[in-house]
């Protein structure tokens, strides 16, 4: 015989005994049963699933992602400018132009990658690979033009990585 009275006493008796008034018991799937769910209070879910609330949250998140992209691009441009000027003084004009071409390609690559990630989940199910055409074009152009050098162009292309790392290290911690 199943002791229904004992089971209900165990389930609902914990509501008052629990120090956390919202949570009464851990569900078998690992989540928590909220008191309002048991008592049939669905107003919390209606608020969470409200389309206007979700739209506002999505807009705020998109703005945050856009601001992050802008900060990364700005930092990448600053780093590129510093390296181009340094290379112009230390190695000559051809090297600095190669670094400049590579850095601009790297920023364009990062822009395409960020756009692909921005579309992930909303209009695309996978991140596109169109950004990989940028290093291909860069290597082909550099190998065809005698004024440009391959190694400085590749180093310039990889300048987006320090800017990403610096940006994420300097990012303020959101509480």
């Amino acid at each position: 015989m199943i002791d229904f009275a004992g089971l209900s006493q165990r389930a609902f008796g914990d509501i008052d005994a629990s120090p956390h008034k919202g949570f009464i018991d851990e569900s078998p799937s690992g989540g928590f049963l909220v008191q309002s769910e048991l008592l049939g209070d669905s107003s919390i879910h209606e608020t969470l699933l409200d389309p206007e609330t979700l739209d506002e949250q999505s807009k705020i998140s998109q703005d945050e992602y856009l601001q992050l992209q802008l900060r990364i691009y700005r930092l990448a441009f600053v780093l590129a400018a510093i390296f181009v000027v340094l290379a112009a003084f230390l190695f000559g004009q051809n090297t600095s132009i190669s670094i400049l071409v590579g850095a601009l390609s790297g920023i364009l690559y990062l822009r395409l990658l960020a756009r692909g990630i921005g579309k992930l989940g909303s209009s695309q199910k996978i991140v596109g690979k169109i950004q990989l055409i940028i290093p291909v074009i860069l290597v082909l152009v550099v190998s065809k033009l005698p004024e440009l050098q391959l190694l400085p162009a590749l180093l310039g292309f990889l300048l987006y990585k320090p800017s990403l790392v610096i940006q994420f290290l300097l990012e303020p911690k959101v509480q």
Binding site: L54, Q57, S58, I60, S61, Q62, D63, E64, Y65, L68, Q69, I72, L110, L113, A114, I117, G118, L120, G121, I126, V127, Q131, L132, P135, V136, V139, L140, S143, L150, L154, L158, Y160, K161, L164, F168, V174
Partner: protein, 82 residues
């Protein structure tokens, strides 16, 4: 460039791209899966999740780019060509 060097360069270019894309491909797939799951669970953290995904994708995809560059150099600017 003699025929043996040409053939070896073409085979090496194919191996560089093909083998170099396996690891990043698996990693990017699992990272994208985790990010989409995270966005579905916490839509309010979408911006931070996408930012972190951008960082991880940029670093993972650079491994593919290294292989791609090696392949392109072997094909179009081969240093072993006599």
């Amino acid at each position: 460039m003699d025929s043996i060097t040409t053939a070896a360069s073409v085979v090496a270019a194919g191996l560089a791209v093909g083998l170099g894309a396996i690891g990043p491909g698996i990693g990017q797939g699992s990272a994208a899966q985790g990010a989409v799951e995270g966005i579905a669970r916490q839509p309010e953290a979408e911006g931070k999740i996408r930012g972190t995904l951008l960082l991880s994708f940029a670093f993972m995809e650079s491994l593919t780019i290294y292989g791609l560059v090696v392949a392109l150099v072997l094909l179009f600017a081969n240093p072993f060509a006599g």
